[in-house]
Symmetry: C2
Subunit: 591 residues, 2 copies
């Protein structure tokens, strides 16, 4: 039983609340994409996802991917190849691609907001699209030769070819400095690559004619560690149609995303071309990786939303027990609808009150990515770029973790039914669990936030962010309906400043403290961020009018967040305050 | 890759700490079961589980159960039937069964502590055993006719037959008052039952010659609601070998416990026999249900432990990145073992510091069940019975929830590897998720705690428990090594009293408050309980000597619990304090 409808109204609401219209008006590149146009694209896209991809979702989960070791081919479940063809034909693979290479040139914000529908209806399928778009972004970024661009971008944008991201090797996941894949120069300016990569999503499949791998490898003269890594394009088929020796060596069997082939990729002198400068591969990879990290955070939003809709739909049909408050009992029936029970509401609000601000946060980051790349004013671009840098690890980590917990909470609403495959929730939970692990585990995000983003530009990012949170609180305090929430957030925001300063001080003396408390710090930071997003959403909801469903819905959901969810920040603050002793002063032989 | 070893040392440690020896000395029924004998049984049992059941665990997850609608049969995966035969032949199905019906008569504490190994190695298989033993307990309890006992107990104890528990119907899960299955008296004192039950674990299978269903149904003159429910024994095959019309109508497809057949059971005038008094079926069912609830809490311990061992084993072999503290870097290698990283330790300690007190809590409850049934002194029996009543919903709910989170945390230690089927953790997580839902959802446990157990005997249970916690704190405060923990717990224990009193007061005026905050209250209560268990465990560990690995291991693990886990109680207290407003003052059309 599938009950998913793309939350178009809330998507529009967030685009409005996070300045989409002001942004496109200030950026000539997006003059053709006003809000109505954007919503038209998003709506049409949603129709495709709900009509074509949602019906394949459970099938892709059940049907095994077939790897044939004779020709190294991977056959996906019936219908997926055709769905990709239809997706590409409709132009969706190139919706945000640059116009000069055949793309539609829509703002990133539109791309991200279409993404929710795609991920929610078919997460496995969405990964192929996400990797291709990540590769498009990486190739379209500065420093890539025109020849590479014109060879690969048009076909990636048209969806005739798809992309991958080949980082991990058996001995190196988190620690890419340990990488051993080698790239030896050929005489013609190309390279031959030899090595083995693991966990390569859509490394082999039957959706497209050609697969374009972005591969990290070492040149012969490379410095050791992460500063000696270069990026290469390695296509499955070469220009002349011959097969490049980049072969799938097998598939992983996983807890979820079962329609997404997770491949071992073996290269034996495969021909490749350098992307960007030698030894600067991490830069290229991070263009792709940052897109992927925002995408991963949105997986928590999309699957959390889908699970919420399923649980709500179940609850609306289910009667069980009488209302505790006798005056709320329906006459003439043996049991009341379960939505009358406070705990059922609590669970639904728990999911809703975190999914909605995470959607807002994703939208905010997405609009700032457009500003960072397309705004005419350099200072504005820089500020936006800083905000994106600061908030990307936050949405990746907190979005994936909270989203996972939200799928579990949605299952809890449904009782035993939620554990069965009659409902989509158990698949959503399995499909989402990987989001806490891939694209850099959530702890890696936390180290990025604390170790790189906080100290960046002498602390300018975090100070700018704190100022913005403070402004939001000040504005909200003026409205009696939301002033109590502003008051609660003010306390946590002040505490965040203290905690941040304390952490920066101890970090200078002791790096282990960072490792011990970074994950807790990120969660604290994320909850304050969601509180800030809620205040922005409430301020915008008010413009719909006090009688509007939008305002009343946002208000009651926000109340739950501020009273019941935000206090979780206390625990994370306590853990940061506890420091490193309880994890460093131990004898690991006693574990 | 399986890495599970039954934690025999910690099991012995807990039996000691929770008074096993003193108990058996005071109960003549268990004179033959001193601690060494008990550990001998548990060790032999563990060997069976690790040798025979663990190797079947992944197989049972992958291989589909086969339902044949032609003869209503269910065929389980290869090897399970044989494993059950070996299990029964070794006497394990009757280890705690009454001696007069062929059982081994071991204390319940021994049964529960063997249970951990069984559940950890093969949760699906363990459910058949758990249901059979639950039925044995229900039949052995007072009020059941000698004829029923002598007909069914010997074969259930020998494992030739197995049991089920048939409660749920499509329209009633939580709310058993809505039950419609009917039982009409026959002339010979038996009944004919008609109705359809769902989610019946091991309702049909090929392990045993006969399946004995305990079925809840209504007599023709039954009062409406839960007070009109009677319990019946309905065997698959009757005395004369003829097939009773109690048929499997199909199997559920689930997220986990895939080797456990979850059946629709249809009865069409199936012959049954009344167990206990008419309309008092809930009493019989609760004998079975309370055993099942403790068992369910232990599922969190067992699978959490298994996942912990897998994660630790992975971590011991994995090198990635350098130690943050340069002095801890190993010379001559490119990367350090990941156990040097504070966050890896944090995750492992998070699992370990909650699994160990949950095991202690389970052991404590189990020893008290023996006291409640077998102690010569009536007042001692009553006190033990009260403690069991109070703590059973706590371990069921908190054990299942924390255990589930622990399997997820263990996966996080392992990065992407944990998401693959190369390791057991993803199956453990799927197998465990149902524990939060079945045997009464976790919210039902919370309502039981707040609505039934707290007010019981004028609040005597909770007051007795609070006094015991206080005593533990006082004793611990005298030992400088654990006094800081006692101090932390003292604060929460005082807060628990205040919160409990406040809740009881509001509950008298407004039942909805109970529904709104019971789940948070239970979690608060559980964390304080685990703190109390930790103090008892620490006091006992000290008797091993200050240089012992037991003392040092318990001390470092407890420190993490008190500094990093126990503060979670703050959030739950805040939620109880927030009351019902944010869930009751809402317009559900806006959800």
């Amino acid at each position: 039983m599938s009950h998913y409808k793309t939350p178009l109204e809330d998507i529009r609401f967030n685009l409005e609340a996070f300045g989409y219209t002001e942004n496109v008006h200030s950026m000539p590149d997006f003059a053709d994409f006003d809000l109505d146009t954007a919503m038209g694209i998003i709506e049409e896209f949603a129709k495709f996802c709900e009509g074509e991809l949602l019906p394949l979702n459970a099938k892709g989960d059940h049907d095994d991917l077939v790897f044939d070791p004779k020709d190294y081919s991977v056959t996906t479940a019936d219908g997926f190849k055709e769905a990709w063809a239809a997706y590409a034909a409709a132009g969706w693979s190139g919706v945000t691609g640059p116009v000069e290479y055949g793309g539609f040139g829509a703002p990133h914000a539109v791309g991200v907001m279409t993404g929710e529908s795609l991920i929610a209806t078919n997460k496995s399928f969405s990964m192929c699209d996400g990797l291709s778009k990540g590769l498009i972004n990486a190739l379209a970024a500065g420093g890539v030769s025109e020849e590479l661009k014109s060879t690969y971008l048009p076909k990636l944008i048209s969806g005739e070819w798809t992309g991958t991201m080949c980082l991990t090797e058996a001995q190196c996941g988190t620690d890419l400095g340990l990488m051993t894949t080698k790239a030896i120069p050929n005489d013609d300016g190309s390279f031959r690559l030899t090595g083995s990569k693991i966990w390569i999503s859509f490394g082999e499949h039957d959706y497209a004619e050609n697969i374009i791998h972005l591969v990290l490898a070492r040149l012969p003269d490379a410095p050791s560690g992460i500063k000696g890594i270069s990026a290469f394009i390695v296509p499955k088929f070469l220009d002349d149609g011959s097969r490049n020796p980049v072969f799938c060596g097998g598939l992983e069997h996983k807890m979820g995303i079962n329609a997404s082939p997770t491949c071992v990729i073996n290269m034996e002198e495969a021909q490749g071309w350098l992307v960007g400068a030698p030894h600067k591969g991490m830069r290229t990879m991070f263009v792709m990786m940052n897109t992927a990290r925002l995408h991963t955070g949105l997986e928590g939003v999309a699957l959390g939303e889908h699970a919420y809709q399923a649980a709500l739909s179940f609850a609306k049909d289910r009667r069980q027990s009488r209302a505790l408050d006798k005056s709320k009992r329906e006459a003439g029936v043996a049991a009341d609808n379960i939505l009358v029970h406070p705990d059922v509401r609590r669970m639904l609000l728990n999911v809703k009150s975190t999914t909605e601000p995470l959607r807002g946060l994703g939208c905010w980051i997405a609009t700032q990515i457009d500003v960072a790349h397309h705004h005419p004013d350099a200072a504005t671009r820089e500020k936006a770029s800083g905000l994106v840098a600061l908030l990307t690890p936050v949405i990746k980590s907190y979005g994936s973790e909270r989203g996972f917990l939200n799928t579990s909470e949605a299952m809890q609403v449904m009782g035993g039914a939620g554990f069965t495959q009659d409902w989509p929730v158990e698949q959503l939970m399995r499909d989402l669990r990987i989001a806490m692990l891939y694209e850099g585990t959530n702890h890696i995000q936390a180290l990025d936030l604390v170790g790189r983003k906080l100290p960046m530009n002498g602390g300018a990012l975090i100070m700018g962010f704190a100022a913005e949170v403070k402004e939001g609180i000040k504005a909200a305090a003026a409205d009696p309906a939301i002033a109590p929430f502003a008051g609660i957030l003010a306390g946590y925001s002040k505490q965040l400043s203290t905690v941040t300063q304390g952490l920066m001080m101890s970090a200078m003396q002791d790096r282990e403290v960072v490792g011990a408390v970074a994950s807790s710090y990120l969660n604290f930071f994320a909850l304050v961020t969601l509180g800030h997003v809620w205040l922005r959403q409430l301020a915008h909801a008010k413009t719909y009018g006090e009688e509007s469903a939008t305002w009343r819905g946002k208000l009651q959901t926000a109340r739950f967040f501020f009273e019941s969810v935000l206090p979780e920040a206390d625990v994370f603050a306590a853990r940061v305050a506890a420091g490193k002793g309880s994890v460093t002063d131990i004898d690991i032989s006693l574990l």
